[in-house]
Subunit: 575 residues, 2 copies
């Protein structure tokens, strides 16, 4: 049915047919995610509510904004993308997130949490200004509902004097189980509606609750009521659903089946695993060590730490800013906080990083996972800005370990380091390079990973495992031809090892980084070279000034500016 | 009394003596602010509550975090700083904000809104971990209480399982009057306590309300009760106060007397005035234009716009992130939003700037006021990072007009510009430079502000009014000695005018910017020069990699790296 179904036909189906449609959606999602990887459990739970919305609303005339986007697969399947859905998250294929460029049905791009209510309000207000006539829906999970941005948006409903429908899909889970006071308030709503409703009325919302949001008939009735109410005021449609609905394993393991790799993906050593193990080891000896996470403890490798040191482990939900200020304030009292977070989500705590942690020069350690290109999640999830936005902040030291072994050393180094420290690393890692530094890391010190002849004219400064891997691959090819060059592990991006840089007696320097060029590692080397009046050329291999789409890490690295063939050709032009 | 008073003596005073103390505090604050400038109305309203806290708590053993810090003057006066208080906001003097380096009584530095509850929770949790015994207080105004970060913190009270006292000083004002749903909820609390209290209980808070927070006796009783409750749970002490209390003019004009310049300060033309007038003019012709502000419409020059176009002007309270997403979402529907904001506060919307506005390449215009060194407010308010954090974002154009006249042209240019645009400018401005471009601005095009002889070996690339003023001052001095150099108005910081740069036939290039060096304008020029293999030297005059303290703009510019004498000496070394 799905392949031939135009979403507008949903209205013509009987309840039985709609139930069949739900099953078909569920199967398609399951099968596709097993093939392509993607967000499974959240999408399975969103099937009936999405179908009910299609039944009563008119997309794309009416607009829907999916918060984060982890629940948009059923919607994508109903909006004319079923035939291409098997390309999910592949290069050139269907995005795992809403994308305006992909379809007129996608009203607003999302990827980070908490933007949907603001976005729906802005779209609705624009509608009012233009005197147009359509409905606007924010579809949000209870995990995102913890985010401060949602509160700011709720707070502005009356100011903006417009009408939206908020569908709060409450499955009790963020990626980890949802925590915090607001979720308790939502639970109270079920039991003691009167009080909760009064609260929501103050925000300008009419409350409608649905006990089983996976029951299609209930959902059809509730959406009908919500649509009617929406003619006069904003509505919160609060639905209880089951994350992973329909697949026993997923229902029982909603966290493990939140994001799923394709079947048959190789198991990799991950930096996150090293983070968890190392922090546990260090925390046994050092009672000052605490760990803070914003709803990502599993994917950051911190499960064991949370089990072993529950009193020193804090998951505050999808609240990146609050997590950052908790770290800085604990640090004022002599606690040593480790804030583990994905690179792209740390952007949310940028101001707190500057204004709280670094302005007070507090010894908080940022463990920045999924740095560099992260791959299949696309534009909103690439961690390619952090070297730039971190390097500009005074008092902050920025460290990119060359492999998982050096990551351990970096964490050991961090314990006694008395200033803000950022350690950034990709997901997959290996113990890759022979270590020259058995004594651990020293602040600012780079090392030769390969030292060529003293008269070698080319030095490659590469930072982090991925870029050193590229450099060493090129080195191997070049040496096979009897030529040679230096490869330097530029593990400290800030401060640069200026002594090392000055000591290099090369005519040609190359920098390689897993970050945009502007303001990043290469940019810092350019400035150092210009200021030192060294007479050498510098070429930066880094990402272009563009948002990087979805694809495989290797493919995207090449496409956007870190291409080993190009690096090799460039070097061979000199030697 | 104040000069000789140690805060710990407050406990020994009678209520009459305490009332006298309140009057003395008020007078001292008033007189000091008239001399030094500073935050008047908010501090006047906070006197009685602060005295009551001193009466019952033991500072600095107990810790207090002032949100933003606009209410910390009475506390500073009581904590051994009365004798130095006349140096308020002066170079080397008492800061207008809490500063740990200034006094052991200042537990946590603030300046941006909404951090206090998180910070108090972090300090309290650290106390618990260290098994210490003291109390922690967050003192926050109702304006800040709108901020999403506060919600994230409230949401984590139960997760953290610790106890703090939140004093919510509700004067009904942000800088502008407080707006939004949460403030309505607070009003309901007064009238219908039962419901509101239930809500707050879900967050883990016990509610205590005070009808007149400027009545010392009421405050003494309420703080006593709060302290008692605090032994078993977190407490929200909600007090109603009068902003500007005790000074009729200030009570009646709380917005005008929020931040006050020293008496006798010269009236300056301000960019904000030009912003307001120009946007009104443009909006008359173009119905797409809308304006968004986060509780700062007066200081951004937008009062007239809000009066003239109330349906297209949105003040969403201190919610920088929400304001940004409202802009991006309105832009998806063909509205042309102008988001006016201080440089330092835009840091709060950094992720939304990337993830919402720029990733979707939407035509939102950021009008970034108080860019560069802002002066007396110190570290937390300098706008010296924006050129760096803006330049690294794909799809974003960054423009620094050379004077207020060019700012008008920049705004005219912005109307038809179909991509994200950031225009940054300082507070004070003038129509300063003779315009060479009567046809308005063209994307990427720099101009000679002074073109020297073709064989001149030195070119100064300066961006924005302040830096061009420095360059022209140096030029005047140098020409008086019969020498000459080029001065270029590098108004587009991104994209750089590479054609112009390439066409320069100079041995020596200088860059001047009102921003940190790292990742900023000079950094971009360095990279361009390195990549072009131009054989010239480049020297960057920009701010050092440090947080910049309080002082006058001119003094700080010199001290941190933009010193006209140094620039002149450097140039005279070549010509």
């Amino acid at each position: 049915m799905l392949q031939s179904l135009d979403g507008s036909k949903v209205k013509t189906l009987s309840v039985n047919e709609l139930n069949d449609l739900c099953e078909e959606l569920r199967e398609t999602i399951y099968e596709t995610v097993m093939q392509c990887g993607g967000h499974l459990a959240s999408n399975l739970g969103a099937v009936e509510s999405t179908v009910a919305l299609w039944y009563h609303f008119d997309f794309p005339k009416d607009k829907i904004v999916f918060d984060v986007g982890h629940q948009c697969y059923p919607y994508k399947l109903l909006s004319g993308r079923a035939d291409r859905f098997s390309t999910l998250r592949q290069s050139g294929g269907i995005s795992g997130f809403p994308k305006r460029k992909e379809s007129e049905y996608d009203a607003y791009d999302t990827g980070h949490a908490g933007t949907s209510v603001s976005a729906a309000l802005g779209i609705a207000k624009a509608r009012d200004l233009k005197e147009e006539d359509f409905q606007v829906i924010a579809y949000i999970g209870d995990g995102s509902f913890n985010n401060g941005l949602v509160y700011e948006a709720l707070n502005s409903i009356k100011i903006l004097n417009t009408r939206i429908l908020i569908v709060l899909n409450d499955n009790g889970m963020s990626i980890s189980p949802t925590v915090g006071g607001m979720h308790d308030i939502l639970s109270v709503l079920d039991k003691e509606k009167a009080d909760g409703v009064k609260l929501l009325e103050q925000f300008g919302l009419r409350y409608i609750g649905v006990k089983d949001g996976n029951n299609l008939s209930e959902m059809l009735d509730a959406v009908s009521e919500a649509k009617e109410q929406l003619s006069s005021q904003s509505v919160l449609l609060h639905i209880s659903t089951k994350k992973g609905k329909g697949y026993e394993f997923s229902e029982e393991h909603p966290t493990d089946t939140h994001g799923v790799p394709p079947v048959g993906s190789p198991k990799q050593q991950e930096y996150s695993h090293v983070l968890g193990e190392t922090l546990c080891r260090l925390a046994e000896k050092d009672k000052r060590i605490a760990v803070v996470s914003a709803a990502m403890k599993e994917s950051l490798g911190l499960e064991r730490f949370f089990q072993q040191f529950p009193e020193r482990a804090f998951d505050v939900g999808i609240c990146e800013e609050n997590a950052c200020v908790l770290c800085s304030s604990m640090a004022t009292q002599g606690i040593k906080p480790y804030y583990a977070i994905y690179s792209t989500f740390l952007q949310r705590a940028f101001d707190e990083l500057i204004h709280d942690v670094c302005a007070m020069d507090l010894p908080v350690v940022f463990c920045i996972d999924r740095a560099g290109i992260s791959g299949a999640d696309g534009e909103t999830h690439q961690g390619v800005f952090d070297l730039s936005y971190l390097s500009m902040i005074p008092n902050l030291t920025v460290l990119c370990p060359k492999d998982t072994e050096e990551f351990k050393k970096a964490l050991e180094f961090s314990v006694e380091f008395e200033h803000p420290l950022a350690i950034r690393y990709p997901r997959a890692g290996r113990i890759l390079f022979e270590s020259k530094d058995d004594n651990g890391l020293s602040l600012r010190k780079w090392e030769y990973l390969h030292k060529a002849d003293e008269n070698s004219s080319v030095a490659v400064l590469a930072t982090g495992e991925r870029c050193l891997t590229v450099a060493m691959e090129v080195l191997k090819n070049v040496r096979a031809k009897g030529k040679d060059f230096h490869v330097i592990n530029a593990r400290f991006v800030k401060p640069l090892d200026l002594n090392f840089l000055t000591s290099l007696n090369c005519k040609h320097i190359l920098t390689i980084e897993d970050n945009v060029q502007i303001g990043g590692f290469g940019s810092a080397v350019n400035t150092a070279v210009i200021h030192s009046k060294k007479s050498c050329t510098v070429r930066n291999f880094a990402y272009k000034d563009e948002f990087i789409v979805q694809g495989s890490v290797n493919e995207l690295q090449k496409k956007y500016g870190v291409d080993s063939a190009e690096i090799q050709a460039y070097i061979e032009g000199f030697i």
